[in-house]
């Protein structure tokens, strides 16, 4: 590192804002470099001058009526309402939106979660009965084929396996319990020999 790079560390050092590693590195350099040691001395002097100025740099005292003046301004404004209901949701949404502009990854994650939530709501409530009926119909249709062609056997070719797997994946717990070939298939895929 060059001396000019250590000078920025000096500024952090007098503010006690360096990491332990940076401090160690800087102190090691100061042992060898006279210029940087002088620069540190100047910075400390400068800081001291600024600190001494602190007490000379004060505003006039607030008047005794200042707090009343503030409270009058508050009284004259609209009454303060605690956010609730839709307003609270809007506040949360707007704060998330603001955050998403600063942190795009977080924003995208938020949008994804919202998308999934909306998808679940839309998918579960109005479409679920229809979807279940449809799947069960397919199952009933296909299971007949499976039971006829491959009667509860583990010896299935690729296509049959796909059909059975689809049934398994989309079937309700009741269907699985009442359908031995699906349980057998589950045991087969899990590698259980003693079903």
């Amino acid at each position: 590192m060059k001396c000019s790079e250590f000078h920025e560390l000096l500024s952090g050092y007098i503010d006690d804002e360096l990491t332990a590693r940076e401090t160690k590195k800087l102190l090691g350099h100061l042992e060898e470099c006279r210029d940087c040691t002088v620069a540190l001395g100047e910075l400390l002097q400068q800081k001291e001058k600024m600190c001494l100025l602190r007490t000379a740099y004060v505003a006039a005292e607030p008047t005794a009526e200042f707090s009343q003046r503030v409270m009058r301004a508050i009284e004259q404004a609209e009454p303060l309402r605690e956010p609730g209901g839709l307003r609270l949701i809007f506040l949360h949404m707007s704060s998330w939106f603001g955050m998403s502009l600063r942190r795009p990854a977080l924003g995208m994650s938020f949008l994804f979660v919202v998308g999934v939530a909306i998808g679940l709501l839309v998918g579960v409530t109005p479409l679920k009965p229809f979807q279940e009926n449809k799947l069960m119909s397919v199952y009933e249709l296909q299971s007949k084929q499976v039971s006829e062609e491959v009667p509860c056997s583990t010896e299935m070719d690729d296509d049959d396996e796909t059909i059975a797997f689809d049934h398994f994946a989309y079937s309700s717990a009741d269907t699985i319990v009442n359908t031995p070939c699906l349980l057998e298939y589950a045991a087969h895929t899990a590698g259980a020999d003693n079903y």
Partner: protein, 189 residues
């Protein structure tokens, strides 16, 4: 027994204006000084301070209590001050106040600093003039660090920039301050 800020904030949230007035009384002096250091304008300090407390009251529900109430209030005051400076179009410009005015201010018995014996009045004027000669972004960051004793992390939060930027900007601010101080000292009769 004096109520804590947390209690006063909660009471304010529940609609107790008297509790907020206690917070105003507690912090008005600090906020006045902070705004004055930023703006160097005695005329507007009270107005900006009032606006700061007004905004704090209106936004009290947004205060989550992650930092202290004063840290949050200070951030509002800093934003107000910087906005005011920007509206005056004095951002990054030199302050035109005469040196006489500086001496007048410093001679005012109310602002007599106990350290005057250590740092001569003349030196105070030069240091102050140097500070005010800095571009606004350098001056603001030095005030936050040296007068308000804010941590780099708090400054970064207030300015909305990374901590690394704070460190770098402070370094450059100090370098420019040193150069200007040397120049003013040479000009001294």
């Amino acid at each position: 027994m004096q109520k804590s800020d947390e209690v006063l904030v909660n009471e304010t949230r529940r609609g107790n204006k008297k509790s907020f007035e206690l917070l105003v009384i507690k912090y008005e002096k600090q906020i006045f000084n902070l705004i004055y250091r930023f703006t160097n304008d005695r005329e507007t300090v009270a107005d900006l301070a009032q606006d700061t407390f007004f905004k704090a009251y209106r936004g009290i529900h947004k205060f989550k209590g992650k930092s202290s109430f004063y840290t949050w209030l200070r951030r509002i005051a800093i934003n107000n001050s910087i906005n005011y400076l920007q509206s005056r179009k004095e951002y990054a410009s030199l302050e035109q106040d005469s040196e006489d005015a500086e001496i007048r201010n410093l001679s005012d018995s109310r602002y007599e600093a106990p350290e005057e014996s250590v740092l001569s009045k003349e030196m105070s004027v030069i240091v102050r003039k140097t500070l005010e000669s800095l571009p606004e972004q350098f001056r603001s960051i030095l005030i936050m660090r040296e007068f308000e004793e804010m941590s780099y992390s708090d400054i970064a939060d207030s300015l909305g920039c990374p901590v690394g930027t704070v460190r770098s900007r402070l370094f450059h601010a100090r370098r420019v301050f040193k150069e200007n101080l040397e120049r003013y000292e040479k000009e001294r009769p």
